[in-house]
């Protein structure tokens, strides 16, 4: 019997703000632009929204602030801070709230002016027992990459394939920030930030916002755009601070992934296109392994030769990802938006032909919170 949540909710609207470098715009102003576009996309009015799911870098009560800003009084408010995966995590709670009829129209929204406002993700509350050592966010990911290289013989060239593939996809996305050519040698020659990660292995710091609107599946059929049905979603956390991560080569995705697939009644072989939160190149490699697209330890060899690049056998991060498209601090919402865009067949030059099943995976903190979601078109419902 199908899981009680499978296919019960659907994304009916998505919106992106202008992004990249957008000086003079606050985080809520950018969010407003994304929300306006998502509502138009869904053919809904802001007064239809009765559930708000939001976190932002700077707001004490983000869901209440978003509600106030848009002038709505939602019945359901959610603002659980899991870092960048928060928005993928919201899918689970939005689907439940919709199914239980606690609300009818759920809005997931995010905005940030991290680039123009010079806000760094390191602005989080320092972790005691880590702060004296000068660790930054990148440090955790570099430690994971170094451990993977040590344990499995993964090379910097193999890691670089992640950034190269992301750039090749970005070059087909007119909205992507970084669209110049990038090869493996370019990545290796880039400025080292935290060994073994160069600046080309690290995500952008962008201004930008995204919004996603969900309704119950039966209501989704009345909306103008082809619904993207939420088939599975599952979360897992293994630690907050990197020193407490049991095995730096295995993330919580190794457990969130199988549970999301089980809910969806699908397997990795069924997925046509993936959006994996690539805060750093090592993320994509770890998630491909943990989500079952290759065996643990074989990610490096799997990536070699453009496997996830345009023309490769597994399209990953088709918008260009956090590495080359946009990354305002918490990227998770953008994985959902690109997944939906692909399932609708609206991705233009970068469209994966006939994509029916899309995976969007969120990561938060220092590989701390992992949330996997699976979307499908009506054909796989």
């Amino acid at each position: 019997m199908a899981h009680a949540l499978r296919g019960q909710a659907a994304v009916v609207g998505v919106g992106l703000s202008e992004f990249g470098e957008v000086p003079g715009w606050s985080h809520f102003e950018l969010m407003g632009q994304a929300v306006e576009r998502a509502l138009a996309d869904a053919g809904l009015k802001k007064s239809d929204v009765d559930g708000i799911f939001s976190v932002v870098d700077r707001a004490s009560l983000p869901a209440a602030m978003a509600a106030e800003y848009f002038g709505i009084r939602p019945k359901v408010m959610e603002g659980t801070m899991l870092g960048g995966s928060s928005f993928v995590n919201f899918l689970q709670w939005a689907a439940l709230a919709l199914q239980a009829k606690l609300c009818d129209v759920a809005l997931i929204c995010y905005g940030s002016n991290a680039r123009s406002g010079k806000i760094r993700p390191g602005g989080m509350v320092p972790i005691p027992y880590e702060s004296p050592y000068g660790a930054r966010l990148v440090t955790s990911y570099a430690l994971a990459a170094a451990r993977h290289m040590h344990k499995f013989g993964t090379t910097r060239e193999q890691l670089a394939e992640v950034a190269v593939a992301a750039r090749a996809w970005a070059r087909m996305n007119p909205k992507a920030t970084m669209r110049g050519p990038l090869g493996v040698e370019d990545v290796l020659k880039s400025r080292m930030v935290s060994d073994p990660l160069t600046v080309a292995d690290c995500c952008l710091i962008s201004d930008g916002a995204g919004a996603v609107i969900l309704t119950r599946a039966e209501a989704a059929k009345d909306r103008p755009k082809k619904p993207a049905y939420l088939l599975g979603v599952a979360a897992e956390t293994t630690h907050q601070g990197i020193a407490q991560m049991h095995d730096l080569t295995v993330t919580g995705a190794a457990r969130s992934g199988p549970r999301a697939f089980e809910m969806a009644g699908l397997a990795p072989k069924d997925v046509n296109v993936l959006q994996l939160y690539d805060a750093f190149s090592i993320n994509t490699l770890l998630f491909l392994e943990d989500l079952g697209f290759c065996k643990k330890g074989e990610g490096g060899r799997f990536l070699a030769g453009g496997t996830i690049a345009p023309g490769g056998k597994l399209p990953v991060n088709t918008n260009g990802g956090g590495l080359s498209c946009v990354h305002p601090g918490m990227y998770g919402v953008f994985t959902i938006i690109e997944a939906v865009t692909q399932l609708r067949g609206e991705a233009g030059e970068r469209q994966v032909p006939g994509a029916k099943v899309a995976l969007a995976h969120g990561n938060g903190g220092s590989l701390s919170t992992q949330v996997t979601s699976l979307f499908g078109t009506e054909e796989v419902l």
Binding site: Y129, Y133, A135, T139, L143, A146, H150, M192, D195, L248
Partner: protein
């Protein structure tokens, strides 16, 4: 009521003693200091003196401009007793800190800042 684990940990360090917790219920060692054992949930934990010996589990060189202080090491050290902690290895160049390297704990900091643990390479 006696003070919490974090204050006790700092108090030991200030006296020049590196102490970690050991759970009386499940016998696991615990770092960082906390109120409940993360393995079994017990609050029955004692302070114990670790050997101070450990092994580098992973390591990175944080690149920094020379005029800002130059490159520095950040690593994770697995103590012989089991727990892992973030730290740095001193006395060798950051790039020469390697995974698997045996290291020994030493108390640093103090004065205006809190005390913390750094490591020296064994035999370096």
């Amino acid at each position: 009521m006696p003070q919490g684990a974090e204050a006790s940990y700092q108090e030991y360090l200030a006296k020049g003693e590196f102490r970690i917790q050991r759970c009386n219920s499940c016998s696991n060692h615990v770092f960082y200091p906390r109120a409940l054992c993360p393995h079994c949930g017990s609050s029955d934990m004692n302070w114990t003196a670790p050997t101070g010996k450990g092994t580098v589990y992973s390591t990175t060189v944080m690149r920094r401009k020379p005029d800002a202080g130059g490159d520095y090491n950040v690593c994770l050290v697995q103590l012989d007793e089991g727990p892992r902690m973030m730290s740095r290895v001193e006395g060798v160049a950051p790039k020469d800190v390697k995974i698997g390297m045996p290291v020994k704990a030493r108390i640093a900091g103090g004065g205006e800042e809190e005390h913390f643990i750094v490591f020296d390479a064994v035999g370096a």
